[in-house]
Symmetry: C2
Subunit: 359 residues, 2 copies
């Protein structure tokens, strides 16, 4: 029986280093409605970017605190950010249905935009964003954190690229979540038109991973379901969603998201992925390996070489952020193509729209 | 971090004992096309049944060998079995498309019938079987082995029944398989009209589990896919199939089957199930816990009590077989209702028919 990897056949590629000097790439935070803004900011600053401004229209105190902690300037007027030529990118985690309008405003002001997932909530917004991309030449990039900020998810991509499982045939990717303290969630969390539906919102992670691992440019929705099984007091909260897709290259995918992680579970959810290839299969246990002390970021590879477990926390890093910075500076698309970022968004919206309400 | 269960909150129920005296319940084997016949026979004899005859029309030598090893009588004429009043049940693992006709013949002769899964391959066969059930009053029972002969699958059912995860919301159940030596597979393995399609055949296991765990009486097929991704030399072999169902009580299910288990994998497939409830979730690792020495039959329960791993090999047994014998003798339905056995079959056929060929 194989044990934890000692770096045998599939050593993770080296962790990335900062890609710019201090001050060379300045960005601003322009909305803090979702806590992901801290992950977005950390990723960028660890890759060398300089946080210049912090703004949040709903909660100036939160913005002031973040600015103080990170040596940035708190502003109470978004226009200060939009009018500063030194700001090259605006990072934001607005309420989902406000992400696209904010992004278009930033792009119109000549800034690249880096939004929390889900990037938008309707096909109209998608159309507006594509128009802005073409008109301004600026990027509308997305923080699909369950891949971009999860080392095991990145490592699985490396394994697939190295041919470790042959042709990718299929994957199941699940993203269970915990509501936590219901009273501490913001109002928009419970309002369907604001969060966009569970598939559109947290289900966007799995669709991003699918397009990436499968190497697809497009996909169709075979079926989708949403439901509220356990939260009758919050009628607009979809606590379950799932979807079944086929990629344009024939690779299939099933995704599931839910809000049923028990309150005392050690992590926010037992996120998993199973990726089936013609020559083997990969399992990812992203945040926990339940009932073991292995920690998160466990990748299991079964192929002709046998069965191997790779424990990759601290081994892979998060190359996305440095690449995103370089892409903005160099006009390249090494971090993520615009097509990928927005095709994911399109499929989220379509899967959400196709979803049959089953509970 | 919780460790392997020592029988804390959810002790498996006691292993079943034989339910009849020797000779009290005689059965015969009438087709050995699939190796599952040995599992079917073991289950029955361990529960006290007496194997009287063995017959196989395609391979008399195989039947003779089995009869000799098990103290039974080899016969070369099925009618010997059908005409013996002492035989109360006929067990058979015929070629899938021959299972229903054989079953109807046995029921017409006054025998209960216990077939390997999949029990039938078309809605016409389903209609014939239902007619025979009603006309003869005999049972058409099915060996859905991935639940009935897997202790961890049985234990998960006990946990659900005890309310360990609240209301069952959803499940994903996967049944990857290995082809093994392609030349040793029988001709019918590669012929679509004989094996019935991958969803109809091996996909029947997951549908049985779904109806059982969800407590549904019926379901609809939201979508399904089949494909041949890696076996161009065998054009009628579907090496992949998946399906997405909704139960009549709103519980959803996704199932996947494939023939991509690597040739050197320690077991025939890494069969799994994830069962999501409003109060917790269960994972089953049926045959292996990859890269550990835990063995198969691992059940993981996460709920308000924390996270627990139960290693249940030898703890649960296979109560189905004794119940089946008692049901035949007593006219009860404690092992499996006729409705369940044939609703599973119906959904297999419908999912197979609905499946879009994607590769």
């Amino acid at each position: 029986m194989a044990s934890a990897s000692d770096g045998m056949n599939y050593a993770p590629q080296g962790k990335p280093e900062p890609v710019v000097e201090p001050g060379e790439f300045c960005f601003a935070v322009a909305a803090m409605d979702h806590g992901h803004i801290f992950g977005q900011t950390n990723g960028l600053t660890e890759a060398g970017a300089t946080l210049k401004y912090v703004f949040d229209k709903a909660d100036p105190d939160k913005a002031r605190k973040m600015a103080e902690e990170r040596g940035a300037q708190h502003v109470t007027d978004l226009d200060v950010i939009l009018n500063d030529d030194e700001v090259q990118l605006v990072a934001a985690a607005a309420i989902p249905n406000e992400r696209a309008p904010l992004g278009v405003a930033c792009m119109n002001a000549g800034k690249h935009y880096f939004t929390d997932k889900t990037p938008l909530v309707s096909l109209d917004q998608l159309s507006n964003v594509w128009d802005a991309v073409k008109r301004t030449g600026k990027k509308y990039m997305v923080y699909y954190s369950e891949r971009l900020h999860v080392e095991s998810a990145g490592y699985a991509g490396q394994l697939i690229e190295q041919g470790a499982i042959g042709r990718v045939v299929h994957m199941e990717i699940t993203g269970p979540h915990r509501v936590g303290d219901y009273d501490k969630r913001p109002d928009w969390f419970y309002k369907l038109d604001q969060y966009g539906g569970i598939i559109c919102d947290i289900g966007s992670h799995q669709i991003d991973q699918f397009l990436y691992y499968a190497g697809c440019k497009d996909a169709t929705v075979s079926s989708a379901h949403v439901g509220n099984y356990g939260n009758p007091g919050y009628p607009e909260l979809q606590d379950f969603g799932d979807y079944h897709l086929v990629g344009d290259n024939g690779t299939t995918m099933y995704g599931r998201v839910d809000w049923f992680t028990p309150h005392n579970f050690p992590v926010f959810g037992d996120g998993r992925a199973f990726i089936i290839g013609t020559e083997g299969f990969i399992e990812i246990r992203k945040y926990i390996d339940v009932t073991t002390d292995n920690g998160g970021n466990q990748v299991f590879l079964s192929n002709a070489d046998g069965q191997q477990r790779f424990s990759v926390s601290g081994q892979v890093g998060y190359p996305y952020f440095g690449r995103l910075i370089r892409d903005c500076l160099d006009g390249t698309e090494t971090a993520m193509t615009q097509e990928h970022a927005l095709k994911t968004a399109e499929l989220c919206v379509k899967a959400q729209a196709a979803a049959v309400k089953v509970a």
